[in-house]
Amino acid sequence: MKTLANIEKGFEGSIVEIKTNRDDIIRKMMAMGVFPGSSVKVIQTFPSYVFQVGYTQIAVDKEIADTILVK
């Protein structure tokens, strides 16, 4: 299974899961509208990760990108 942190720029697919025990990450992602099932598009992978969900672009660091499983 791939995460946002190890996927190439330009990838389009959907979010499978947000895999983490950290409550703060889950809360933050939900607040931004990042849910399993949302379609996702990877805009950028360096120096930080930028992806698009719906009409929103979100930038996250590697720690958070590592928790977002996609397919």
Binding site: D24, R27, M30, A31, M32, G33, V53, G54, Y55, T56
Partner: protein, 190 residues
């Protein structure tokens, strides 16, 4: 949270008559809420004429801005709050907003959202409705939504949510008059 307590002290220590007098003296309040980057501050500027306190900073509104504005033929106190995503607070700013929402007893709460992000921003509208706050939904930045080819059936959304829904482009002064009319009607409903 402190604000929950306040209601009890009010109920216990003051007679109902006193409370009513108190309420009449205060200007009616309108609170703007929403996430950062939805044009809340611009809308605030459109609704207010004079500033009492303003100090907003990038992305977040550090301090709460209050201004006075005339809607219909009444003067209101209009309050712009720090960005808030959800009632489950993550940041200090959200806590400030949540506290303010309940403490100020607003006569109207205007939830400002970025129209194209309707889907992502509706959950906060639900939470405001669930809290039984007097909420109006403003679909702002309509010009960008239009540019993306998005069309929103405002009437249908209104029907589904059971609250007034108004579309605006605050930066271009679009829909502001309609918004004012709707606020006036909503606050003075029986």
């Amino acid at each position: 949270m402190k604000s929950f307590n306040d209601v009890e002290t009010l109920n216990n220590n003051e007679s109902i008559i006193d409370e009513k007098v108190l309420e009449r003296k205060e200007a009616e309040k309108i609170v703007l809420v929403g996430t950062p980057n939805v044009g809340k501050s611009v809308l605030f500027n459109r609704l207010t004429k004079s500033y009492v306190t303003v100090s907003n900073y990038p992305g977040t509104t550090v301090e709460v801005s209050r201004g006075k504005g005339i809607i219909g033929n009444k003067e209101y106190e209009i309050i712009d709050t720090p960005g808030m995503y959800s009632f489950m607070c993550i940041t200090e700013e959200e806590k400030v907003t949540k506290r303010l929402l309940f403490k100020e007893k607003p006569d109207a709460v205007i939830h400002v959202i970025d129209a194209k992000n309707l889907e992502r921003m509706l959950p906060l509208t639900f939470q405001l409705i669930e809290s039984e706050l007097p909420v109006l939904l403003v679909l702002n930045i309509m010009d960008e939504a239009r540019r993306l080819g998005l069309k929103i059936d405002v009437r249908k959304l209104e029907e589904k949510l059971g609250i007034p829904v108004i579309s605006t482009t605050a930066a271009l002064n679009e829909g502001i008059d309609t918004l004012k009319e709707r606020i006036d009607k909503y606050v003075n409903r029986v």
